[in-house]
Amino acid sequence: MTVKDFIDKLLGRQTASASTAKQRLQLVLAHDRSDLNPELLAQMRREILEVVARYVEIDIEEGDVSLETEDRMTALVANLPIRRSIQQSPNGGTL
């Protein structure tokens, strides 16, 4: 956020369009570069959460799986806050 964005926000004006353009581009390019559409990404996010939830108790609301790009490298970044681990093997038996 720049000084202008900040003042615009204070005055309730729309923020300058350049920062909106940059954000939108970064998002769309992350998808273009990985060849994943938002629908596939949402499905992957659900499946990743399911798998992780078998091992640890996670805060699904807080969890976030997204694509990030820097220097033309795209990374899948998962940020999943753990409440506590589940001391059970994934197939149901206690470890």
């Binding site: 720049t2 000084v3 920062s19 940059k22 970064q26 273009d32 033309r72």
Partner: protein, 270 residues
């Protein structure tokens, strides 16, 4: 081993200034003493001839050269005022089926025997036309404007060039409007270079003289015009030649109190 620099001028999106860039760079390099040929690979919708004022002088194309119905020298159209520059249209607009990557390599290797620079004007898009034009390129200049659609398409093209091993790939940011940039109503130079992660070869400010010069078929770099775009293209040519020339600063274009206020407004808070 040929020392010719074979450079693809491409953009993905149409209308961002590929052909204007090719014409102006071609003239600028020729004026610096480099033997230069511009190859119009956009043969379906060729326009490089029109921008160079050579539209009435085309007799043969690369197609006839490869078919051996004429010699290369007969197909090359020399520029009258700047004899170091020649134009070669890749093909005839009526023969849409012609041109494969193999043909492109064949014609470029003939050109590399007698020129210092081969500039290939690439068609818009990322389909066959692009792939053919890119087949013989060693390096590339990606032309884009500070607009979301142009940057997105440039990114696709850069991805393809990377997989083809074309290197270096450098960026020309065209049609920059300093006033809009300082008002943050246009992507900044840093925004675009951050997103595309390419070295910046040049910045070209929006300049009405480009339209005037296109109307006349005389690229800006042909005259002694000090117009912003002419200076920008001449600088790009010198940088290609290895000279170290500082980039124009869009905020410098608007000096004084208001510019300073604008600069303050751009300061990042967090």
């Amino acid at each position: 081993m040929s020392t010719t620099r074979t450079i693809l001028i491409c953009s993905g999106k149409g209308g961002v200034g590929k052909t204007t860039t090719t014409a102006n760079l071609g003239i600028a390099l020729a004026r610096l003493g480099a033997r230069t040929v511009v190859l119009d690979a956009d043969f379906g919708l060729r326009n490089l001839d029109l921008l160079l004022g050579l539209e009435n002088r085309i007799v043969f194309t690369a197609q006839e050269v490869l078919a051996e119905t004429c010699r290369l020298e007969q197909a090359l159209v020399k520029h009258k005022q700047e004899p170091n520059l020649a134009l070669l249209p890749a093909g005839n607009p009526r023969m849409l089926e012609w041109l494969t990557p193999k043909d492109m390599k064949a014609i470029v290797s003939l050109l590399e025997e007698q020129f210092d620079y081969v500039l290939i004007d690439c068609p818009a898009g990322i389909e066959d036309g692009f792939k053919n034009a890119a087949a013989a390129a060693r390096e590339a200049v990606v032309v884009t404007t500070p607009e979301v659609a142009a940057v997105r398409d440039a990114d696709r093209v850069i991805g393809l060039l990377n997989t083809q091993g074309v290197t270096p790939v450098q960026l020309v940011l065209n049609r920059v409007r300093p006033k809009m940039m300082s008002n943050q109503e246009m992507l900044s130079v840093d925004d675009v270079t951050d997103i595309l992660a390419l070295p910046l070869l040049g910045l070209v400010f929006e300049d009405e003289q480009v339209i005037v010069s296109t109307n006349r078929g005389e690229p800006l770099t042909l005259g002694e015009s000090g117009s912003p775009a002419a200076r920008a293209y001449n600088n790009i040519a010198r940088r290609l030649q290895g000279e170290d020339i500082p980039l124009m600063d869009p905020s410098e274009a608007r000096k004084g109190f208001r510019a300073r206020v604008r600069q303050l407004m751009q300061t990042r808070l967090f």
